[in-house]
């Protein structure tokens, strides 16, 4: 399931529902990304996130299909907040259920790299010392490039 939502979500409650449903799957990996509380020396007071309604969701559905082609996975949940968020609030959650843990770990990792570098979200960090639109770090592009090598095999 894919959910882009303006309301806060409860990662523990989401995981409960997801892992209970994932009956036969022996392995469940989840990732939660949260609003950080400081950027360098400056406190982060909030985050503003926007997306391209319809287009963003469709592109995430496509990458979910891609993950299902690459790994033997049983179920995927992707939740992404938009709008205004406070420090420490969950922004994103990815859950993957699979028979084997390697598939679950790699698919979750892959989906997060996509969400960080490709999915159509734009994030503005509101700091004590001002506002700034965030762009992926070099490390994010490097992480995402790992899967491109796979494609060529």
């Amino acid at each position: 399931m894919i959910r882009v939502c303006t309301d806060p979500f409860d990662p523990g409650a989401e995981l409960s529902v997801f892992e209970t449903k994932a009956g036969a799957a022996g392995a469940v990996v989840s990732f939660i990304g949260k609003v950080r509380e400081a950027a360098g020396d400056s406190a982060v007071t909030g985050l503003y996130l926007e997306h391209y309604p319809g287009v963003t969701e469709r592109s995430i559905a496509e990458i979910k299909e891609e993950a299902a082609k690459r790994w033997a996975i049983d179920d995927v949940l992707i939740i992404h907040r938009v709008g205004e968020l406070g420090p420490g609030e969950p922004i994103v959650m990815v859950c993957v259920a699979a028979a084997h843990r390697r598939d679950a770990f790699e698919a979750a990792d892959f989906l997060m790299d996509y969400l960080k570098t490709e999915a159509m979200f734009w994030k503005k960090e509101i700091r004590e010392d001002g506002e700034a639109w965030i762009e992926p770090r070099d490390a994010d592009y490097k992480d995402a490039a790992r899967w491109k090598d796979d494609e060529e095999e």
Binding site: G33, L49, E50, H51, Y52, G54, V55, R58, H80, I91, V92, M112, L115, K116, T117, E118, A119, M120, F121, W122, K123, K124, W133, I134, E135, P136
Partner: protein, 83 residues
Amino acid sequence: MARLLFFGKLADAAGARARQVKLEPETRTIDDLVAVLGDEDAALGASLNEKSVRFIVNETLASRDAAIGDKDEIAFLPPVSGG
């Protein structure tokens, strides 16, 4: 009228998330449109000419030389930052 959408820092540059504009017949591609917008606002033009900007026409990724028309929805995307 074409509908222009600006996301992230490009909305700041454009001063709006969305604009309705009448496309003249000679505005045939995204490149042409960026030139028109740059004529009105050089700073916005510079922002839209950054190499990292991507374009979507009617909900599909498009290149700079993609054909556009007066009924299209054209979106300007700066580098994304989800998660």
